[in-house]
């Protein structure tokens, strides 16, 4: 029989976590703060990684980690209710237990930003997997050149982590531009697609790093616009989303040409996936 230590690192075996707090972010989006159940411990992770969240008797889904990787006491994950499992996850109350596998996947290359300008571009819920990178970038702010966040979402009511963004903007140590697709007359900010903000960036384009996460079509246009202004393709990193099931590169559900998004991604370099982004899937 396997030892307990071996079982603990089996990537197919969920560990049990408990909901310590749940926060409603948007009408259909919740953030769960998870702590280890008795006798368990939470996994460490790097910004950009995800877990497989298992609701006993319901099913399992991949969920982005949206918290601070430096906080080992809690695992913070943001979930949008879009299907049977995610709806059930967002209904979990404080004290409820769930299974967790992982973390899985590649990380945002935060260290590549040292000595360079860093542009973070988020669309909609894509801000959630970027938030751990933003925590680290802000903590290591003195190592970076300019730090810019461009965030696009649907309407002013759909701005994720709004209070936190407002706080960061007040601290004046990074530039934050938020744009929405549609707004009423009371909105004083930008309206229009997030890619429209890219030509206005005042950065050292040849020496910049870009981290991009959002709907894939938005990422495709954002990466193209970044390259148009001079950011090298190899310096643009995207977080892709596919149908992750096993999360360890075995089942093939998330296969993208010769890569498995769960294992070789989700964070991937634009120059390596550019040609694949426009392909129709069979």
């Amino acid at each position: 029989m396997d030892s307990l230590a071996e079982i603990a690192v089996d990537p197919m075996l969920p560990r049990v976590a408990r909901v310590a707090r749940r926060v409603r972010e948007l009408a259909d989006t919740w953030t769960l703060e998870l702590v280890a159940a008795e006798g368990e411990r939470l996994p460490g992770y790097a910004p950009g990684q995800f877990t497989m969240m298992y609701l006993f008797g319901v099913g399992e889904i991949p969920v982005s980690i949206s918290g601070d990787a430096a906080d080992a006491r809690r695992l913070v994950q943001t979930v949008r209710a879009v299907g049977k499992v995610s709806e059930a996850v967002t209904r979990l109350s404080k004290g409820a237990t769930l299974g967790l596998r992982g973390p899985f996947g590649t990380a945002w290359p935060v260290e590549e930003g040292y000595g360079r300008d860093v542009v973070v571009i988020a669309g909609g819920l894509g801000l959630a997997p970027l938030r751990p990178a933003l925590y680290q970038l802000r903590r290591e702010r003195q190592k970076l050149g300019r730090l810019v966040l461009l965030y696009g979402t649907r309407r002013p009511d759909d701005i994720l982590f709004r209070r936190e963004l407002e706080g960061w903007r007040r601290q004046l140590d990074m530039e934050i531009e938020v744009t929405v697709d549609h707004a009423g007359a009371d909105w004083r900010g930008h309206v229009g697609v997030v890619t429209g903000l890219i030509p206005r960036l005042r950065i050292d384009v040849e020496n910049a790093v870009a981290l991009v996460c959002g709907p894939e079509i938005m990422m495709r246009f954002a990466a193209g616009a970044l390259h148009d202004i001079g950011v090298p393709e190899a310096a643009i990193h995207l977080s892709l989303e596919r149908n992750m099931k096993c999360a360890v590169g075995l089942c093939g559900h998330c296969q993208l040409a010769g890569s498995f998004v769960c294992k070789d991604g989700a964070v991937m370099r634009y120059d390596r996936v550019r040609r694949l982004l426009g392909l129709r899937e069979v």
Partner: protein
């Protein structure tokens, strides 16, 4: 170069345009400003001016029954407000409202059209500068129409 010519020449839309063309375009220009919530123009008005924004932000709006004014785009410093001055029937299709103090160069559209008609080289040079703006906004509109942040499926 005179003050207004210099300002026109420095606007991103006209950077690199030959001095003779700048003089022609600046001959149709005047400085203007709009206070917060003041309208630059309304839908269905004659498209008699095109605005080169030097400072501030302009919201492009349409009034929708039951929803009031809906902003579908904002125009910032260095960009232009108004593209329908280029083509008949020269009427605005939306409202344009300053959301903060806006300083702009207003180009008399009729004057500009007449000069483009008289000097096709100027017309072609301007067309090459306005057309990319039009295409960029068309592509942005397509992306907006896809509603990529909405519920999947």
């Amino acid at each position: 170069m005179e003050g207004l010519e210099r300002i026109v020449a420095e606007h991103p839309l006209f950077v690199g345009l030959g001095p003779a063309f700048i003089t022609l375009a600046a001959g149709c220009a005047k400085n203007t400003r709009f206070d917060p919530d003041q309208y630059l123009f309304h839908a269905e008005d004659a498209a008699d001016w095109v605005y080169l924004v030097r400072h501030g932000r302009v919201a492009l709006e349409m009034v929708t029954p039951g929803r009031g004014a809906v902003t579908f785009d904002t125009i910032n410093e260095g960009d232009i407000v108004g593209l329908t001055w280029l083509l008949p029937p020269y009427r605005w299709g939306h409202d344009a409202r300053a959301t903060e103090l806006v300083r702009a160069i207003a180009l008399d559209a009729r004057c500009l059209r007449d000069k483009c008609e008289a000097d096709h080289d100027l017309g072609y040079a301007l067309m090459k500068r306005f057309l990319p703006v039009l295409v960029q906004r068309l592509q942005a509109t397509r992306l907006q129409m896809l509603d990529v942040y909405g519920q999947p499926g």
